[in-house]
Subunit: 187 residues, 2 copies
Amino acid sequence: MRVPVPLPQSYLLLNHGPTVLVTAAAEGRNNVMAAAWAMPIDFDPPKVAVVIADGTFTRELVDATLEFALCVPTTDQVDLTWAVGHQSGRESDKFERWRIGAEPAERIGAPLVAGCAAWLECRVLPDRDLAADHDLFLAEVVAAWADDELFRGGEWQFTPGGRRTIHHLNGGQFFATGEKLAARRAE
Amino acid sequence: MRVPVPLPQSYLLLNHGPTVLVTAAAEGRNNVMAAAWAMPIDFDPPKVAVVIADGTFTRELVDATLEFALCVPTTDQVDLTWAVGHQSGRESDKFERWRIGAEPAERIGAPLVAGCAAWLECRVLPDRDLAADHDLFLAEVVAAWADDELFRGGEWQFTPGGRRTIHHLNGGQFFATGEKLAARRAE
């Protein structure tokens, strides 16, 4: 079940470096692309940084609305993540083409991809130079959600062989998020 | 063995979102801290973004030299990563205190942490506003290295139960990088 995550906890949804799906919408058109280059940059208010390449349809929609969602896909969504990551949505609606479920967000116009582990609704902090020079967008997280089967009590609840988050390498190769390790407390 | 990685391949060392160690050096003093918030932002020339908090000793050294290295620690270095991530090096040398091996870099003054999976030598792209407003540093990767036991032929070579990269959650909890998954090619 999709449940709200308190905003100061939302960095935990990205802290381990998963690959994300970036969604955006404008004038009745939705799009979704994959992005391995996304990370938190602040705790509270929570902020993120993400690279959205110039020339992509998602970039057009983000430039037009200054809003996007970061959706954190799972091991069940590897094919979907790869499909939306290397084909453009300019000509055909990727949600229709790949039969991707979309749910409305609460604070922004971009849709949330159904079946993900977590979702961050984001509003861009305007900085035209950063986008123009580096395709880099900084944004404030204005709402956050998680599938409570996978994240609750401020912690990821992955089980061996169960649904987990994913980390793109290149060319459709991913790593699943692996086992948990605890550091011994330093003296 | 530490071997050079061609610069256009260096993004692969960070693409899956591992936690890194940031090293810096100035006026005969070295320091190392952990950072979960680091990612590639460009392929060629390769560039990275990393958050280095204001007030840390590492930040002082980076501000003074505009250079740092990103070292990618392994499952064997979880304790080390946590230790250097929550204690300051201003009062005592962390390399001495935690008996961390340091090797000279090739293009920058910052040391490379021995035993890591990969290393990226970086020169900061000056942008005082970005650092002042968001503690965010953009940098060009000027040299890259990997342990050829773990990365060769442009691919990570992790084996189940073997040394792998790590992903920090919070409070000394990490995920190991998990098993490889291949997306089916979309029609």
